[in-house]
């Protein structure tokens, strides 16, 4: 915007591995300084997309621009401008904390004068002050992940790609990590982050939902919640949840039903009409309903609704 190119532009991107299409013709844009969430279940094509954007994989077709540079044509120019944190921890476990930082400062070509300051910043940011001389392999997962983030941004890249940065980390570390992401975004860094934690998706400025290589929805978290649901969402608490789920999936006037915790979530065309119908439907089948009400959808509902709807439609077509 304002004459500046978008941070990330993806057009008709396709990546096939043999017969398998991992990324199936996707297009989206991420603006500068935003936290861009890439959301989807395992195997949806999130990591493949992020690896293409970092120039680690060559796209089968389509176009990807990062900081205005074509990734397929000039991957090295892209790498100057990005920081990447892979899904699997990939710093050197047999190096000390400080040695990993020095190594990556070297790899990113950070000049000597800057390096000391950036390394000190990264140590502080990761909360590793006093632990600089520990072997990286001995650190707990949360520290490792913050160190990996520190290593990835030593050269102050304008765009950072984080592939499931918080998987396998305890909740407090996750919170800390997201604070760091927000701080970077405040400084104008574009953060491109993939996750399958729906609560984390709420922290993003914009989201793209991806399932089986295709984009199923995109927008801000609020937009998604409002637009992407076809119908209203009901919360149902009852006994025999499993049996109730089976019955409701077949029930007339119910678009979708899924278990959430110890309750059920139903997608219906119209809440006003559906509430009494569902009550009596279950009552006739000797299932007592203790609570039924219309609720505001969470992203998880949106996501489950979109992906399962899609599955159902495909089944019907088949």
């Amino acid at each position: 915007m304002n004459g500046q190119p978008q941070a990330v532009v993806v057009q008709d991107l396709v990546k096939r591995f043999g017969d398998f299409t991992a990324v199936d013709n996707i297009s989206f844009e991420a603006s500068r300084g935003e936290i861009f969430g890439f959301l989807g279940p395992n195997g949806a094509g999130k990591s493949t997309t992020i690896r293409i954007l970092c120039g680690l994989l060559h796209p089968t077709s389509g176009k990807a621009l990062v900081a205005g540079v074509d990734v397929a044509r000039e991957p090295e120019r892209v790498r100057q401008n990005i920081g990447y944190m892979s899904q699997k921890f990939s710093l050197y476990n047999d190096l000390k904390v400080i040695e990993n930082l020095r190594f990556f400062a070297g790899m990113y070509g950070v000049n000597q004068a800057d390096a000391a300051e950036r390394i000190a910043w990264a140590v502080d940011m990761a909360g590793l002050t006093g632990r600089e001389h520990l072997l990286t392999g001995t650190l707990a997962a949360g520290w490792k992940q913050r160190l990996a983030l520190g290593c990835a941004v030593l050269h102050r890249p304008p765009i950072v790609f984080l592939d499931e940065p918080t998987s396998g980390v305890d909740p407090i570390s996750r919170r800390l990590f997201w604070e760091l992401i927000h701080r970077m975004a405040d400084e104008g860094v574009t953060v491109f982050v993939t996750t399958h934690y729906m609560d984390e998706a709420e922290y993003c400025n914009r989201l793209v939902l991806i399932d089986r290589g295709r984009i199923v929805a995109s927008g801000s978290p609020l937009e998604l919640k409002l637009k992407s649901m076809e119908g209203d969402l009901l919360l149902v608490e009852c006994d025999q949840v499993g049996k109730a789920l089976e019955l409701l999936q077949e029930a007339p006037g119910v678009t979708d039903a899924a278990i959430f915790g110890h309750a059920l979530h139903l997608v219906v065309p119209d809440a006003e009409r559906a509430i009494p119908e569902v009550k009596s439907y279950l009552g006739e089948r000797r299932i007592a309903v203790s609570r039924i009400e219309r609720i505001r959808p969470t992203l998880e509902d949106v996501f489950v609704s979109l992906t399962s709807l899609k599955g159902r439609r495909e089944k019907e077509q088949a």
């Binding site: 060559h58 990939s90 190096l95 190594f103 070297g106 790899m107 000049n111 000597q112």
Partner: protein, 377 residues
Amino acid sequence: MNWNRLRAMARKEMIQIRRDARSIGIVIAMPIVMLLAFGYGVSFDTKHIPVYVYDREQSQASRDFLKRFQSSRYFNVVRSVGNYPELVHAVDAGTCQIGIVIPPDFSARLGSGQAVRIQAIFDGTDSNSASLGMSYTEAVAQAHSAKLQLEWLRARGQGSVRAPLSVDSRTWFNENLESMVTIVPGVVAMVMAVVGTFLTSLTVAREWERGTMEQLISTPVTPLEIMLGKLLPYVAIGLIDTSVCAIMAVWWFEVPFRGHIWVFLLSTTLFLTVVLSLGYFFSVVAKTQLAASQISLIATFLPAFLLSGFVYPIDQMPAVVQGITHIVPARYYMAILRNVFLKGSSVFNMWPDFFGLALFAAILGLAATRIFRKKLT
């Protein structure tokens, strides 16, 4: 090429070698163990061949003759047997490699000026030892006949008779013709062929296996910087290893070192370029440490052992095999090392070998810079 990146890469590699017990073992123990094993284990000298004798006459004359075997360092007369089957049995059982039978009319025939035929039985299962044993035996018999002839002539008043021909032998470069002196420089070359390739065969594969490669190739580092950064520490290690081997060759195995140290270092650096690049190449292609290390052992050990002139002299090989030896880089280095150690040859004396080595260093070094791609597959 960014020097900071190269230095960071090399430093990281060095730290990893230092922290990895297995690497340390390969770097320090493997060359020394191999040098000792081959230095002592491989010997082409035939000394103290066990001999059984069956002296059917037991006379002064026959004992004089047999004494010559005992006093030669090539033979060791283990036992004197009393019958023929016992001798046959000893050859069969392998307790002796040569059986010598003195006929009962030994001194009688000598006395009457007739020719005496001595029977010698050789165990031909090791044809090399057998043929050496045969020529040594003949030499002993000839020396003894010459002595007897002289005595015979002197007894007839021809006191001034001398043997008409004699050879004054001087063996150059290996004065005592000890095979260890030729073997040990060859072992140094073989050890470096195996160790050098083995060392680098692990470096790239290790990064793929541990998942660190993904992070590394997301940085702006170039393939050339990765390669040089990974190989330079091993060039230093390789030079140290080779020097340790050379020092052991001189101080422990007492092999002379007559050449110039710079010729040694130059050829070693060229050879290290060859083997380290080769190992790097395997590491990039194989992507797992196990596969890469196995390929490198097979690809270097057998050719370096069989086709480099280490065991079998190249000029004795069939023409086709001789042709094949030209693509075994160890062949050139082996020749250079032997010449540097024993003859003290200069680079100029050995230019064909240096040329071959430099050619391979250039080809493999260049190939190694090209093989690595900063892509996941």
